[in-house]
Amino acid sequence: MTSLQHVNPTVKGIRESAHSGLQSLAAHVTQEIAQGVQKPFKEVIDISSGDPHKAGMKPISFVRQVLAVCLHPELLGNTTLPWDVRLRAQRLLEVCDGGSVGSYTDSSGIPHVRQSIAEFIMRRDVGVHSHAKDVFISAGSQRGLLVILKLLASGEGDTQTGVLTPRPCPHTLPTLLDDAGVALVPYQLMEDRGWAVDLSELHRALKCDRGGCNPRAIYISNPGTPTGHVQDWKSIEEVIRFAAAERLLLLVDEVYQDSVYGQGKEFISFKRVLFEMGKEYSGTVQMVSLHSLSSACMGECGLRAGYMELVNMDPEVTHFVDTMLCTDISSPVTGQLALDLMVNPPRPGDPSYDTYTQEILLIQATLSQNAQRAHEFLNDLPGMSSQPAKGGIYLYPRLHLPSEIIEKAKKLEVEAGVLYCQMLLKEEGVFLGAGCQNGETTGNHYLRLCILVPAETLEEVLARLASFHLRLMDTCPYPDRGVKGRDIRDTL
């Protein structure tokens, strides 16, 4: 019989995720409630991950209507649906074999959708060209990223491929790197500057690890996940120059590009900056940028589709990307079509335009207001400090835990932030993420919460969190108040 010793070492080496432990606990608590166990709360509220629909955010009507018609083309004759919905569904069905979303497609995506995405990128990055052949659709952006990482991966020990990875990073990234067999080389983001990227820190990280592995790529997310940092032009340029000088492949996660709300902030794509840096950069720097249906406005995580655009990559490499995507067969057709709707929304004059615009504005307003509210609220709690987020869908406040809690965690052999989350879950039914899942190893403790939730849900979470947190702080005599992150406006 196959036993652990026979299991592929790469699989054995995938680290245990603290997140799954908390997920099991949340499921357990939910089950207890279902069985009638008395608790001070009626249900568990889970805002540990970026899953807006789960939290109660509504999907975009236009998207759902078009997809419903594509699934059930008899609805083409249903006049209660706006004509632009039906026309778009008809056009999309024409690019599906046999006029059905149940047919296979090319592994890298339906050509029509790849073209739509290329055109979207060109519109977004005014003046920069984009080709459909450089756009690859995968079942979620992480799946595309995995293909790239696998192509990079080689060697073991000090020749093992390494990827410079921010700390904190998205909580799913460390296990993905393990799965690909590449080493994680952390570079610290600067908390006191709103989690900015620091060039000297990039150099330090690289130098420190050159002996330990072979760094070949640098991963960065903008807007930052979970930090909420939005890079400005200069910062992006610095990173590009660094990657160019050190011959690192740029892996740029831009999934939350549609969620920048900080005043004076805007989303600038890495590609756009690259192409304004002159031929020596724009013709040579190799880059992969990622986007997905799991974006703020769409929130369609369950449809499973994302894309990556490859820039300046060797044609042989793109050939291999296509080959490797074959083993996944393809991204689900409904997801591919949803990507088309994401990059090609209703236009002014279309019947669906007003509703569409209202829904987008509502999502953006909710996000912006929640970010402000949560930041101020949490920052005011003793033993908690929060950097203002400028984009993205998370808040990442820091916990200044009393030594009693840290001691208790040590005794239980659990990370202190995780213990905090476990206790919060059991006592208040609130499920947040722990910073250690985001690669946090400095000894500081952080919480991760998704703020793309209905405002009432956020209020409920904040109330329960405050109640728990203050109780905890009260039981410990001398909490460390830490350095409060203040928005620059607060000091004016």
């Binding site: 992480q142 083993t327 067969i329 689900p332």
Partner: protein, 464 residues
């Protein structure tokens, strides 16, 4: 890693489609693409109930309108209640929505005459190959020396072999006996295993039942022999059963490996490690584009199960719509439900179509000199054998092409029919085959057989 050689044919097919769009004159009006097992692409209609429920799940306003039958609306409502936030856009648990996984385990138990099925052993994935890939990844150590081997049938579904090699493993082919209706003979399994000595370390045995590309349905006796062999040689049994709904032979019956194993009793039933795969892509639903499948794991070490869970968790979850499709496949409308009459009519129509198609394929191809075709008992493909004249083989050599690819290219150019060259499936050395999908409307199949017959007759004459 080598890419499948389908590119040259696929590229030419796309070119021809473009040429037809531009109204270039050809002896045919459209390309008939039978390369993949893709019923919808071939013109088979999706099941109405499935599409109606999915549409209502996507756009819940439909649940409250009278456009859809009441059982469709009730099912959609129930399913939406099982989705986080009532939306198919939310993530689900790694292995799938628990209620759906549970219902799948009930389907399996019912299908297998009561053999118990534990929901904890079931993972829903974006297609069965995704799950297969994960299981193979656990078993195949790319850095092992000697390399890990997996016994696979010849002929086989090409993607599986491709995946094994991509993971750093070695495929060890065992030949199916074409003259005996593609029977799997256990002596051949022994021979294959022996051939691996000194070459690789075989850890698993992959079987496809009903077959792909060859359309056999295994007998209980064969399956028992396979199970005993796997047990004796300590091989992990990987049973690809995605075509279980496609049984056309009158005397054939699908039995799952799980059922046969369970009915063999202990110690085998408690010890043979088995992974069985099913999918929403094949069978009556034919929803290849939704990307939904599942694996059921039996008799695995708990620590190994933990590793499998960890690996599946590195991806988010299967698309919610495909999870729902699997639920509809395993819990279809029942007699008495408003949708039942239409549903059973559509199913019957597909069944009749398949029986008609396999009969016609068998008749027509066997009547043509240079063709021989085993009866297609199950699956979605015909895999007839070509007996081509030496001149044709010579011409192919001159063009630096494999003979069956040469035949398929000519067929495509002259008739617009796209089929897969048999070499992709790794059949026995020195034999030539083509594979084509037979899940097509009846009139399309007649059209195909007509074009193929005239082409073949001419081809044989040209190279005689």
């Amino acid at each position: 890693m080598k890419k499948l050689d389908s590119t040259v044919l696929a590229r030419r097919a796309n070119q021809i489609k473009e040429e037809l769009r531009q109204k270039l004159r050809k002896p045919y009006k459209r390309v008939i693409d039978l390369y993949w097992g893709d019923p919808h692409a071939a013109g088979v209609k999706p099941l109405s109930f499935v599409r109606q429920v999915l549409a209502a799940c996507l756009y819940p306003d439909l649940v409250n309108s009278n456009t859809l039958p009441v059982d469709v609306r009730q099912r959609a409502q129930k399913l939406l209640g099982e989705c986080a936030g009532g939306s198919v856009g939310s993530y689900t648990a790694t292995a799938g929505i628990p209620e759906i996984v549970h219902r799948i385990s009930e389907f399996i138990t019912k299908r297998d005459g009561g053999a118990p099925s534990d929901p904890k052993n079931i993972y829903i994935s974006p297609g069965s190959q995704w799950a297969l890939r994960n299981i193979l990844k656990v078993l195949v150590n790319s850095q092992a020396s000697p390399r890990t081997g997996v016994l696979t049938p010849g002929p086989c579904y090409p993607l599986t072999n491709f995946t094994i090699e991509g993971l750093g493993g070695v495929t060890v082919p065992y030949c199916l006996s074409e003259e005996q209706g593609w029977e799997l003979q256990v002596e051949e399994l022994h021979r294959a295993l022996d051939s691996a000595k000194g070459v690789c370390n075989p850890v698993a045995l992959y079987v496809i039942n009903p077959g792909n590309p060859a359309g056999y349905v295994q007998s209980r006796k064969t399956m028992q022999e396979v199970i005993r062999f796997a047990s004796e040689k300590r091989l992990f049994l990987l049973a690809d059963e995605v075509y279980q709904e496609c049984v056309h032979g009158e005397k054939s019956e699908f039995l799952s490996y799980k059922r046969v194993l369970s009915e063999m009793g202990p110690p085998l039933s408690d010890t043979v490690e088995l992974a069985s795969f099913h999918s929403a892509s094949k069978g009556f639903m034919g929803e290849c584009g939704l990307r939904g499948g599942y694996v059921e794991l039996v008799n695995l070490d708990p620590d190994v199960m933990k590793c499998i869970y960890k690996l599946f968790s590195t991806d988010s979850c299967a698309p919610v719509l495909s999870q729902i499709a699997l639920d509809l496949m395993t819990s279809p409308p029942q007699p008495g439900d408003p949708s039942y009459p239409l549903y059973s009519e559509e199913i019957q129509h597909i069944k009749t179509m398949m029986v008609h198609n396999v009969k016609r394929v068998f008749e027509v191809l066997n009547s043509l000199p240079g063709f021989s075709c085993q009866p297609v008992e199950g699956g979605a493909f015909a895999f007839p054998r070509l007996h081509l004249p030496p001149k044709a083989i010579q011409k192919a050599k001159e063009m630096e092409m494999e003979t069956d690819l040469f035949y398929c290219m000519r067929l495509l150019e002259e008739t617009g029919v796209l089929v897969q060259p048999g070499m992709e499936n790794g059949p026995k050395e020195g034999t030539l085959h083509i594979r084509f999908c037979i899940m097509t409307p009846e009139d399309t199949m007649e059209e195909i057989l007509s074009r193929l017959s005239s082409f073949h007759t001419q081809f044989m004459k040209d190279f005689s």
